[in-house]
Amino acid sequence: MTTDTIAPPTFSLPEHRLEGPLKVTGAAAFTDDVPVPDPLWAGFVASPHAHARITAIDTTAARALPGVHAVLTGSDVGGARFGRNVLDWPVLATDVVRFIGERVVAVAAESRDLVDEALALVDVEYEELPAVHDPSAAVAPDAPVLHPGAADYRVLRGTRPAVAHPNIQGHLVRAKGDQDIEEALRSADLVVESTFSTPRQHPGFLEPHAALVWLEADGTVRVVSTSKEPFALARQMAAALDLPVERIVVDNAFVGGDFGGKGLAALEFPLYFLARATGRPVRAALPYSDELAATSTRHAATMRLRTGVNRDGTFVAHAAEVVFDGGAYAAAKPSPQLVLGGGIATMSAYAVPHTRVELTTVYTNTVPGGHMRSPGEVQSVFAGEAHVDVIASRLGIDPVDLRRRNAARAGQPNAVGETFTHPAAVEVLDAVRTAVQWERPRTHGRGVGVALYQRGAGTGRGGVILRAVPDGSFQLVTGSVDQGGGTHTALRRIAATALGVAEDRVVVVRRSTRESLFDNGVGASRVTRILGEATIRAAADIRERLAVEGMGDTAIEARGEYEAAGHAEDSSFIAEAVEVEVDTETGAITVVDAVIAADTGEVINPTAHRGQLEGGFAFGLGAALMEELAVDDGQVVTGTLGDYKLPTVADMPPLRIIQVRAGGTSGPFGAKAVGELANSGVPPAIANAVAAATGVRLSSLPLTAEAVHGALR
């Protein structure tokens, strides 16, 4: 055992990414790279119709093709359905298809070319049914009911909320205050009403969904997958396939980007049936056109906001009705209410005595809605923070002054009634106001805009195994994947700090779901908080035992587990300000300056932390200015990444980041969440800046040059 001449890590030093060299040299294995002997390739016949009855499927010719080992239809998989909470998405469609791109027939063959050849030989006959393409059509009294059997769908947690129309997927009302909301609104001097909408988006990760499934002789189902939630996937597969969860072992490779989209796993289910039918490992990776058109997207939303305000700018009451287009299946939503909880964030950083936010998700004959970085918040923060500027303009009050007046102070409750103990709302707002030179006069075409909001810490449960090894090193075993956020690097640093040893003494080992402790998965800005705390607990245990027993010839092992619910004290507050230049002839918007001020607590990985804020800004820039999955009659028409544009480094404005510390958190070493923080405020800040620059108030994303041009005509 070496002596500790090297100190434990200092958080202010930039970290070295554990997997950096592997990724830079191309040696990192992703799902599609994982070798397996003698695999078959899988592919799918997809529905060309938004809503249709399947009247006949002829697979004879495909089956006869040499090298084709299985051709399965919905009846071959016993009508199995899957989902993250409600199991409503058929593994393969049985009688009805509900969106363009839905899987109808699965093929396994010796090569990708053979798969394509076999797919072309399958003949499916459909009888088209009336389709509903948007939520308002779907909830009309005479709308066709998309899921007549919805009451029978299994759910994994909780119970499905009662709904007012059979095409409503999910519903949630969060209200606070001792008065009826309409009454509270009436009591204000003025009620300001605004309506906003946001489009579907795709996360745009580099690695498309991929999976590899095989069965072992003892019946164990082995899965390698791009899922960011291996344990949740094992549970979902157990439920959908009627297998004991112990039989399913998920052992993921590197995940090539997630941004929320890798929470839904859909390939693994048909691959299981193909592997079972053929006795061979079966693998598939989605072409990116299928990624865009037929996996799961950010929910499009329409939002009606009403705020009762007094003449002095005080917010008295706030009501929001948020309607999400849930698409054909609710399977991609993990919440029991089948809504995006982030939708309640229309006024997240303010103290409003009376609030009522109603979230509704609706079935339509379009690609299913799912999770994408800050699900629900991207929609609700855009609406809420643009709405605040509308109020400011109506009252003739400066937008920053109006926010400052209503910003949450310590002891005040958040939107769901939890008390903020250390809200940094005023501090972050003041920081960006100064940095962006808010008061400086600007010429026509130039304007500044701001957004203020907060996001709670990630909740959930997870555990790690920590081992002290006789050679003086430590092993941290986790089942959590690193989807690019630097999870494993952060856990190593936390372990080294908690153990009081140098970072290079700690090795992070990722293991399958069978060889590691349960973890909710990489999402909801949860990992550093949950697994970080679990690591600290395990390290405390190890230190104590080392002190008592000393290091002998065998490893000492400790398990650390942690579960956290939401706490308002752990909220990360953030303000973002941008300056834009609008070309008043073409409408083109250029962001010329940007500032983020955020309270993210103690920073453990400074480089990754900065990357989350800067990358979050870029992510928000995409939502603000360019990203839209356009859908025409149920067909995603933004079919390639050539049309679905993502921002590049050349599009980034100069961006300054200001760290504010208000304290008060249960996160490890005082850390707060940062992963899903910075993106949501960019669209409203830019929309507000465009309004300041030109007088044009845009209420739909993305904020296109053409929309500005049209409004200026």
Binding site: T586, G587, A588, V637
Partner: protein, 289 residues
């Protein structure tokens, strides 16, 4: 992606022979930036592909005895952007600079950007504005035609079966010739143009003696703005005249609505782009941007 038989050619003669041998539908692979994308999207599934990488006759950047710039079809767009020889003509390096990203420009070729005949490419409008000619070789003959006449429709050229682009000749520029390229990109810097304009003008004693204006992304092919040219040639151009002339571009273009904007928006923007670019070249006024 579909599989195909790959036939690398070692010479121009071999390339044309392979094209003749495998016939209709055989595709050429130079940089692959278009072919491989179309193949992956299932829009092009050739059985045979002839590789051009080793065809020496298609390489090279030189200025010939007449002062014309000769560019081989395999010239990378990055080389057009950076080669000293190209700096002797206006607009061309500037247009090449605006193609996608450096990574793409290091791969994509001049011949490919012409043969692909995508109207949103950046280099073709510049070549048209420069009155460049394209060299074409068939199995038994070669010919030369104006770049403008190469394009017949969306992804369609006037190349006969078995012919390929071997290079481009850009005529010598005279002193006083000015050129420029304006690519309107309202979403991201890494995109095809919503509207692009290339122009080359000769100004003698304040008088426009020659003007060629070409636009990309606003019609099935790159197009000349003949109406704009006619309104400005042979005159001392004031900003007022330019403002009026730029409006004529609506007659020369036929944009379609797509993810980059509606047809009506592209018409409006084309007017602004033409006016701004020509304003910059003719120095009629300080144009804001």
């Amino acid at each position: 992606m579909t599989s195909f038989a790959f036939h690398p050619a070692a010479s121009l003669a071999e390339a044309t022979a392979l094209l003749a041998q495998y016939g209709d539908g055989t595709q050429l692979l130079a940089g692959g930036t278009s072919l491989m994308l179309l193949n992956r999207l299932g829009l092009l599934a050739p059985d045979h592909v002839v590789g051009l990488r080793d065809v020496g006759e298609l390489r090279g950047i030189a200025v010939d005895d007449a002062g014309a710039l000769r560019l081989g079809a395999l010239t990378k767009l990055r080389d057009i952007e950076t080669a000293p020889e190209v700096r002797g003509v206006p607009v061309l390096a500037e247009a090449a600079h605006h193609v996608a990203t450096v990574r793409i420009r290091n791969q994509a070729t001049l011949g490919g950007s012409l043969g692909h005949a995508d109207p949103a490419q950046d280099v073709p409008p510049a070549l048209i504005a420069l009155d460049a000619r394209v060299d074409v070789a068939g199995p038994n003959s070669t010919r030369q035609l104006p770049v403008e006449d190469l394009f017949t429709g969306y992804l369609e050229t006037s190349l006969h079966p078995g012919e390929l682009v071997t290079g481009v000749a850009v005529p010598r520029s005279t002193r006083g010739t000015r050129g420029g390229y304006l690519k309107f990109l309202p979403r991201t810097a890494d995109d095809y143009a919503t509207v692009s304009v290339a122009a080359v003008v000769d100004v003698v004693d304040g008088r426009v003696t020659r003007i060629r204006v070409a636009l990309g992304a606003v019609a099935p092919t790159p197009v000349r703005a003949h109406s704009v040219e006619a309104a400005l040639v042979d005159g001392h151009v004031t900003s007022e005249q330019l403002r009026g002339a730029a409006e004529f571009v609506r007659q020369d273009i036929d944009p379609t609505s797509d993810a980059r904007g509606s047809a009506s928006y592209k018409n409006d923007v084309a007017v602004v782009c033409v006016r701004r670019l020509l304003g910059r070249l003719l120095e009629t006024e300080q144009e804001g941007r």
